[in-house]
């Protein structure tokens, strides 16, 4: 097929991706936007195959190569389909991390293939450009793959807990490794024939992917997930430079830059710079007991009955969910409680902090699953403007995003982070298993305030108990 037709097809594909992404930024068009983008992907695949057809021979075994490619595509699609259909909504963050990792892996393997394709041949027209592009692509691809695997393990709590993993001289080791890999890429640019350099680059990049991600704790996951997403786009883009393929360059950079936008939104939600998230290792800080709240550490403890009575007497109730709601799978119980309260004339709204949970928009997905109407979901500024009118707030498994220390305690690691001012409501009910500080390991002075009551126990069970009391 004529190369010009293929390039024209890629342009159309790029257009569909842009249009699809744009549609995905609005409720009404979001689902169609995803569909538009999927059609773009299908066109890209078909035209790539048609373009291949001309040059004839498939690698693995001549013309039979088609069979292998189809088998590979079917296996990949099957695995993707299985994972996408079976994953539970609570497992969404790790699933997105996993898919992301496979994208990075694919890009890394493509440039491996490109590097070893004409082993020893000197046919490249611009070998310097090729070796540098392959080097960069290898670096980003393997960092994305291993970084995503670590994020997956952290979110699944498989081998890794939610706490950051820190080791001595971490920063120095990371920077040394990064320096070494850049040096290798430069060397390769100077001696393009030294193709074996791809191996040390891949090995160091893999180590970097792990080392950059393990110091990042559970509470910072929304940032790192969006950042890795951005990397996987940049990996595809770098692969586009290797293959000199405009379709890859355009689509890859779209994902790369839109991922950066999302990463920035998450960073603002935590009042931290990206550098700080990547190198800060928050959560390693252990606040000395008795520190934060000035010694007077008495808490009020309520039963489900107390909570139910308080809720029944309210006219406006805010529910502030956090990761704890996801863990307890309490979203359906919460929806039931909210319906029950509405039936009794109590207005119920949800206050959603942008970094609540483990990925951007995590709480919204869970509440949508439980069919909570999205008009009830308020973002941070809406919530804060209404909280002083609220009679009661239920804090369900959220912690740092409601910690008043962020407003005034300059010594607190989360000082300056924009929070939901739940302490301004008349009564705050915090539903939590124990008094232990959360994922980030920071004590929360909200628990010790006069208008705060703790309702200890599993989130889902507590909510169900309250529902049972209300129904009596």
């Amino acid at each position: 097929m004529d190369q010009n037709i293929v390039i024209a097809a890629y342009l159309l594909v790029a257009g569909l991706f842009v249009y699809g992404l744009k549609m995905m930024a609005h409720y009404r068009t979001a689902r169609r936007g995803n569909f538009v983008s999927a059609i773009g992907m299908a066109i890209a695949i078909v035209f790539t195959l048609l373009a291949r057809d001309d040059s004839g021979v498939w690698a693995v075994s001549g013309k039979d190569g088609w069979t292998f490619v189809i088998i590979a595509a079917v296996i990949g699609s099957g695995v993707g389909l299985f994972l996408a259909v079976t994953v539970r909504m609570t497992g969404m963050p790790q699933m997105v991390a996993m898919f992301n990792g496979f994208g990075g892996l694919a890009s890394a393997l493509v440039v491996f293939s490109e590097c070893f394709k004409h082993w020893g041949a000197r046919g490249d027209s611009d070998p310097v450009h090729m070796s540098v592009a392959i080097g960069i692509s290898t670096l980003i691809g393997w960092v994305t793959f291993w970084g995503s695997l670590v994020a997956f393990a952290r979110l699944q709590e498989f081998l890794l807990s939610g706490r950051p993993t820190l080791f001595k001289f971490q920063k120095i080791v990371n920077f040394a490794a990064l320096g070494a890999v850049i040096l290798l890429i430069v060397l390769w640019g100077m001696f393009p024939a030294a193709k074996l350099l791809i191996i040390p680059i891949a090995v160091i990049a893999s180590a970097l992917g792990v080392m950059f991600t393990i110091p990042i704790g559970g509470a910072d996951m929304p940032v790192i997930i969006s950042l890795l997403n951005s990397y996987s786009g940049l990996a595809a883009c770098a692969t586009g430079f290797v293959l000199k393929n405009p379709g890859l360059i355009i689509a890859g950079s779209l994902v790369g830059s839109s991922g950066i936008v999302l990463t920035r939104i998450m960073c603002i939600g935590m009042n931290r710079s990206l550098v700080n998230v990547l190198f800060g290792g928050v959560g390693a800080i252990v606040v000395a007991p008795g520190g934060g709240a000035g010694g007077d550490k008495r808490v009020t403890s309520w039963t489900a009955e107390d909570a139910a009575m308080c809720l029944e007497d309210s006219s406006l109730v805010f529910i502030v969910p956090g990761y704890g709601m996801a863990v307890a799978q309490a979203q359906h119980a919460v929806k039931e409680l909210s319906d029950l309260l509405e039936e009794r004339g109590v207005q119920v709204k949800f206050g959603i902090h942008e970094v609540a949970g483990r990925m951007p928009g995590h709480m919204n997905v869970l509440l949508a699953e439980a069919e909570v109407p999205y008009e009830k979901l308020c973002d941070r500024s809406e919530t804060n403007s209404e909280l002083d009118r609220a009679d009661a707030v239920i804090v369900l498994g959220a912690n740092d995003v409601v910690n008043p220390a962020a407003r005034h305690d300059k010594g607190s690691p989360i000082y300056g982070m924009p929070i939901l001012d739940v302490d301004k409501a008349r009564t705050v009910m915090v539903m939590k298993r124990t008094l232990n500080p959360g994922f980030a390991g920071i004590d929360n002075e909200l628990f010790y305030q006069d208008n705060t009551a703790m309702v200890f126990g599993d989130g889902k069970k507590t909510i169900s108990d309250i529902i049972a009391v209300l129904r009596q």
Binding site: F68, V69, S77, A84, K117, I250, V255, P360, L377
Partner: protein, 92 residues
């Protein structure tokens, strides 16, 4: 495909700027689907994987085939998961 480096860089810079431009204001509710949807787009590396699978050499071709598997997981899984989430938002 012959694409001069300078042209490739031009395309790259323009596409980066475009990406920054299209997604500026997104309601919080759509953060996850948008991330997951753009993640699916990063599976566009399937283009490279298909080209690589058809490239010369047993070693190159094998890496290419593995890349096809990984990229298809990303593409199919990414779009389906995104659709699953968006379906919930659309129900009402």
């Amino acid at each position: 495909m012959a694409l001069p480096l300078i042209l490739a860089i031009t395309i790259f810079v323009l596409a980066m700027l475009l990406g920054l431009e299209i997604i500026t204001k997104v309601p919080t509710q759509l953060h996850t689907p948008l991330m997951s949807g753009s993640n699916a787009i990063s599976g566009v590396t399937i283009i490279g994987a298909l080209l690589a699978a058809g490239a010369g050499g047993a070693l190159g071709g094998t890496f290419g085939l593995l890349a096809v598997v990984a990229a298809m997981i990303n593409v199919v899984g990414g779009y389906l998961v995104t659709d699953r989430m968006l379906r919930m938002f659309k129900k009402r």
